[in-house]
Amino acid sequence: MNLDNVSLELGPNKILEAINLSVQPGESVCPVGPSGCGKTSLLRLAAGLVDISGGSVENHFACTAAVFQEPRLLPWRRMLDNIALGLKARGVPRKERLDKALELADSVGLADKYTLFPHELSGGMQQRVALARALAVGADLLLLDEPFSALDVGLRNEAQELVQHLVVDRGIASLLVTHDLTEALRLAHRVVVISGSPGRIVYEHRVDEPFAGRTQAWLYEAAAHLLRQPVVSESFLYNPKLEMA
């Protein structure tokens, strides 16, 4: 996927400007940035949900799926039917799509909860159902919009592990938006810092450490290293002068 000099205006507000970003097959790219920098908008335009105001978006991936900030499950459908929704939309026969959903439910750790409705699942489980739904359609590009921001630390760790195993390790390309620098460093091949208003890419960082070597200690070290870059610290750390302007 190539984003070439993309800008986005919603009404009078300029949200994003001069965004150049590409995602190669199998690559995990994590745009990070403070709240309100236009990360979610970036993902929405990559998903084709909003029309861009300038530049061009080319998506060469065969199948793109998304996990949103909220689970966005159908409250009136049981867990397996929710996972199988994308397959149903593609005309896959019922038996086949439920088999696939069953397999995915097991792989995200939701065995024995097949017939529950979404409200009977916890927030973390619901988000895992949403991940399984995205994986079910066999996407080669996954768009993830802060999918773990509502989870507590322990659950978030678990969810990150799932994404690493089920998405990054399997060679599914991903664009994962987050405001958490360590989360980005843990899951990305490339971290992209977005900041300002309108949002621009202010810094790019390639993560060469293999995933196995990314321990907690390493993550903190790497985050501290990133924050020592003036442009990065400016966008992340509280800056009263900027706030006033």
Partner: protein, 260 residues
Amino acid sequence: MSSLIRTVLSWGGSLTGILLFVAIWEWGSLNYGSFLLPGPRDALASIHGFWQQGELWGAVWATTWRAMTGFALAALAGLVLGLMAGLSHTLGRALEPVSTVLLGIPPIAWIVLAILWFGSGSMAAIYTVAATTLPVTFAGAQIGARTLDKRLQEMGDVYRVPGWIRLWDFYLPHIVSYVFPALITALGVAWKVTVMAELFATEEGVGAGLAMARVNLDTAGAMAWIMVVVALLLIAEHGFLRPLQKKMEPWRQGASQAKS
């Protein structure tokens, strides 16, 4: 065990209200005399009388058939039109004033028109019921279709969910929770309007029985027919509509269980 006690208590609560009502009725009857206000026992005796004369079941069947046919027509048309009006803003704007106009026309005016158009008989009653309940079901379906969560629609866009699956998996389950309260309201209106239409336009049915009671100054008979029509309404709502709703919304039952 505790659920059993709770059920008994809730039944007891409803029963208390009904018994209180019957007691006041009995007291009024004793106070004002049984000609002006016949008591519950007089009304029950009248119902028994109708039954022995063979009038009861014919009237019940005629009224039920008319009310249900008109109600079903209105429910179906209202659901389809409301769904379309909720999905398309243009159509919604066009149909809304029509619905308001229909809602504003008094049922009694519909009866006069229906008698002029269809003559006396079942058709006039069915038409009147359909015309008066249509706007209610229409409004329910329209609001339901309009209030589907935008975020779910966006999710549908991302997964490229085609139109008919979207209708079946997104819109209809959501609309059901808006349509059922509307249907229950419409059902109550349907019985009342049927009885009124029968009073003017037909020679059998509960309404026709009421007309006879009026001619004969048979107050107990009038009370008896009122009891019959109320019983019919209760049976239709609690014996048919509410169980149907439970069946169609299993996910809501789960919600109430989780809370209790």
